[in-house]
Amino acid sequence: MTATTVQNYTLVITGAPYSSQAPQTALLFAKAAVAAGHTVDRVFLYGDGVHLASSLSSPPSDESHWADQWGNFLSDNDIPGVACIASALRRGLIDESEQKRYELPASNLREPFIIAGLGEWVEGTMASSRVLYFHAGD
């Protein structure tokens, strides 16, 4: 393995924005990885990490908007962003189809994130050469 080996990363984020530093560190890592010519197979949000995919997060205008920044980064680089369905439903992160199925008053999933099962994580571990986890640090 040499310095020039191109890696394919799966990034798993389990810490929530505005609660942990995990989504920030993961984004700065992902940008550096792409800039260095590596690929990101997918980003998987698990546990409290699913809050990163909220379309309603509204931090003060002088603070970084991590959900916005992550959404833009994924769209610009055609990287799939997947929130685990079991984590998301418990925590109130819902797409339109779950809204209908559970007859909920609204949906709040930010584009381009999708909601899917843990199988997406399993596939990531199989498809990529590196799986990195970004947990809460406390």
């Binding site: 995990a22 560190t25 700065l28 800039a35 640090g137």
Partner: protein, 94 residues
């Protein structure tokens, strides 16, 4: 950078139980990368590890005002962090 067997990425403060677990799990040939809260270990007395290379993520070190006291680790930026994860045969996120 030398060949790394396992890169251990630690983001927990020194008081966190997982920090001690991580330090006890290092083997010859491994490397340790301190990020987020874990860079606070640079401010505490004593050595972190014996004979294992220690890196620390510089944006996290600077944010915590520890640039002057960071003699226990080599500072790396995000591109160098990516390089470490690419070079290591295995990465563990503690």
């Amino acid at each position: 950078m030398a060949q790394i067997h396992t890169l251990h990425i630690l983001n927990k403060a020194p008081e966190h139980p997982r920090s001690g677990e991580c330090l006890r799990s290092l083997n010859p040939g491994d490397a340790l990368l301190l990020i987020e809260n874990a860079v606070l270990a640079l401010a505490t007395p004593g050595e972190l590890t014996a004979g294992i290379p220690v890196y620390a993520l510089s944006p996290d070190v600077l944010a915590r005002g520890l640039a002057q006291t960071a003699r226990k680790a080599s500072l790396v930026d995000f591109p160098a962090m990516v390089e470490l994860t690419a070079q290591a045969q295995k990465v563990i996120s503690w």
